[in-house]
Symmetry: C2
Subunit: 497 residues, 2 copies
């Protein structure tokens, strides 16, 4: 997985290499963010897209979310975008699997384990082919596929489905919607991932389902914890490593240090919409710049587009910013974020209250989680006026409850017996040492749907109950007829005759 | 909780004290195993039983399990024994709660947290009264009360109920029995614990249910892991500290060292039936001694009864033995145990294959778990002949699979990022620092049974479905009648008229 998904896998790969393991990172030639490293070996394979291709598609994907549209247009756009993303994943995967020389090399290496982000199922197909124990590394899957794969129950009564922006306390009508989604979600995601199952079946020369591919995970390293996610049933092979991306802290450079130190008593605000969105439409940029002019804080804004003409002197545009390091500075007052899971955790780790402008994917749900904890304010980037942004910033900076809540979340999150990076590395090494973690695989994997839900048992018990009731009823009516009934006597007599 | 339950709580109390906390241990005056310590303060309260009383009851309880009896006798004995144990717990609890001076002292202390084994619910009642965050410390509860209390789903299709000795792979008929038990278990345990709910309601001057008492746990420290227990859904506030009792290792004393060193190439066997059973009927003791005479290993047997006349020269009776330290010795070849959870984990930690003679409680289930992993053999202590014991010992000592399996389990169990004792201490301190762990409490606690299972939602969806079907059906029949029916026309005409 390329892009932001790779950001928190990289430290794990590096730490494994530092621990003395040989680490090979499979990278598409035109990768966006998977650069080489001195610590691990990068094996590249050619794909049919150039880096410029990918960047322009990404920009298109980003800018789509700044075009106001409502139902059903917004859903169609989202679906088309998802389809496009999955088409690219599929093409990249085909390039990898058809690279016979590379595959043979990988086979010859006899690796101990494979770590993959299953958002694209390509790594899992490879693991199946090379018969390697698999560690999955992810924030979450659409349609609860991750929880389904490890057979973790997800009662729809308090576990909100993805993209609903519900919390764990739902109204009756929300529970109805959530239950309906729970009924159809696995079908929907099977459709989305069907091309991968097809590719796997072709590559492995046997029938493979999406379910088969997902459920081969020995360990799932999940990039969240229950400070952020709502508490819910989990399985013993799910390891929670939320905040793993806060590990790599570096001191600010001279320019950055000067900037934050000059921000005075009011401190500064960090603004980034993530690695996928560095430009936004000019009218929106001007609205935002307008808001920033009116606040007493210094603003550091990651933005590569044309400079808005109304940019205030307190607002500094940068092409890239060390987000986690800036947020760790004691003068950081607020974090304006698209609510990607990495950013959210950097906000939590450093106890900086957030103004969230979610754009796509899980970002709306992420924002809802922080908002429901009183640690941030969500705005709709399409509708918001400069005043909305000013008010939101004023609230999170000046109302004590936001700071108190994010500090509470931060304290809970940071109070753990082992750092998430060390935990992740431990479990990858565990899988390497023990060739998987079969002792954590529930017997539920060996049951079909009917058996798992005990429907065959309940059918039998129901049959026994009905039969018992029926026989008792018949016995009673027969006894009644024998004792009280007079009219039936002649009949039974005539029968005997 | 007294007896063996206290064995693994004590190191946690001591470590907390070593970390600088003030630790107060509430102890009944005639406690069996809760002696004082330099590290913590022991606060005692008087009870209506003398130590001799308790010991004689315990001995009676132990010897009951050596009287051959079959269904329904065995069930009646078990039930009577449970009732007796719970009656004593109840009496002890009454003594504590009615000790006004002690309770006031505890109130004045303003503790940060209370750690309790909820097998007796007395600690929980106290926590409720003193409004203290609670850490529960346990191996497991009858009737899955622990899992129910934290709202952890337990599908009966692969999660065997207590006392069934089923594994996670059940036959159809076993699944039927297991599902029936799942249906009635909560009722059964509510009955068993009802006196505590009654006592709590009286003491707290409001209605309190068993459920209320159990579900106040901020953290549950569970004395098992998934090397031993079958993998299953769990909740984020369940922390698994199996093997915590292996922490305290001491070197063997001179006598012990001489004994194990003199055992020669065949090594030695450790035999103990736990802290509750140190004497057994003479005929059984002679059978066992007879078996031991015929094996080449040295046997170290914890036994305080009359010496069997046929005792072999290779068999050494001791009043007490450092079980974990002996099992850690490289010459330990087998462990004959009653399959209590502490003993089982000492066998796993030290990779010693086991011959298991389960007697009561969860011991049959524990034995089944080890047997199903191929790391031990279970015998029925009542039926077994000397030959059975000889054969079982021969298998676990000389068949390589038993040693290999226990070594595999041991390696999996010991390969963890943090020692269970440190993990337990971390979570107690976490609860102290944050006044509980409310972020780990699932919203399921705020739903009633119907809401949790979405029965109200499904009733609505069913009603919608039926109504839609009914209206569609009516529309169809009406249309059909209008289009095709001739006979109905005069009727409708007459109606209009």
């Amino acid at each position: 997985m390329d892009g932001s998904h790779w950001l928190s896998m990289r430290p794990v790969a590096e730490k494994l290499a530092q621990n003395g393991h040989k680490v090979v990172v499979l990278t598409a030639e035109s990768s966006l963010s998977m650069n080489g490293s001195d610590l691990y070996t990068a094996l590249t394979y050619s794909i049919s897209y150039s880096k410029e291709d990918l960047v322009s598609r990404l920009e298109m994907f980003g800018s789509d979310h700044f075009t106001p549209s409502y139902f059903p247009g917004v859903t169609i756009t989202m679906y088309n975008n998802m389809q496009e993303v999955f088409r690219i994943y599929g093409d990249v995967c085909k390039s990898l699997l058809s690279n016979a020389e590379l595959i043979q090399n990988l086979k010859d290496e006899k690796f101990d384990a494979l770590m993959t982000d299953p958002f694209s199922l390509c790594g899992t197909i490879l693991a199946e082919y090379l018969d390697m124990p698999t560690v999955m590394f992810l924030r979450g899957m659409p349609c609860s596929l991750d929880f389904q794969a490890v057979r973790s129950p997800s009662p729809p009564s308090y576990i909100p489905r993805m993209l609903t922006t519900f919390t764990d306390h739902m109204s009756y009508s929300q529970r109805v919607i959530n239950s309906l989604l729970a009924l159809v979600e696995s079908m929907a995601c099977n459709l989305l991932y069907a091309p991968f199952a097809h590719m796997a079946s072709e590559f492995l020369h046997r029938d493979v389902t999406v379910w088969d591919l997902f459920s081969r995970a020995s360990i799932m390293l999940l990039r969240f914890d229950f400070v952020f996610e709502f508490p819910r049933p989990v399985m013993p092979n799910m390891i929670f490593i939320g905040g793993i991306n806060c590990a790599n802290k570096k001191p600010l450079n001279q320019v950055e240090t000067k900037l934050v130190n000059s921000s005075g008593e009011h401190g500064f605000v960090v603004f980034s919409l993530g690695s996928m969105v560095s430009e936004i439409p000019m009218d929106k940029a001007m609205d935002i710049a307008e808001a920033f002019r009116s606040i007493p804080q210094t603003v550091i804004w990651r933005y590569t587009g044309k400079v808005p003409s109304n940019l205030g002197s307190n607002t500094h545009l940068v092409k890239w910013l060390p987000q986690n390091d800036l947020l760790a500075h004691p003068k950081a007052r607020a974090f304006i974020t698209h609510a990607g899971s990495h950013g959210i955790y950097e906000g939590i780790c450093n106890a900086v209250p957030m103004v969230m402008l979610p754009l796509f994917g899980d970002q709306m749900d992420n924002a809802k989680r922080i908002e429901s904890r009183g640690a941030g304010v969500t705005l709709n980037v399409l509708d918001m006026t400069p005043e909305d942004l000013i008010n939101a910033l004023d609230s999170v900076i000046n109302k004590p409850s936001y700071k108190e809540n994010i500090q509470r979340l931060s304290a809970l999150h940071l109070d753990r017996p082992i750092h998430p990076l060390d935990l992740a590395v431990h479990w990858v090494e565990f899988v390497m040492r023990h060739k998987g973690a079969p002792h954590l695989r529930p017997a539920a994997h060996d049951l079909n749907w009917i058996q798992y839900h005990s429907l065959d048992v309940f059918a039998f018990l129901l049959a026994v109950l009905v039969t018992t009731f029926f026989i008792s009823f018949k016995c009673c009516t027969y006894t009644c007829r024998r004792c009280c009934g007079r009219k039936s006597r002649p009949k039974s007599k005539s029968k005997k005759e």
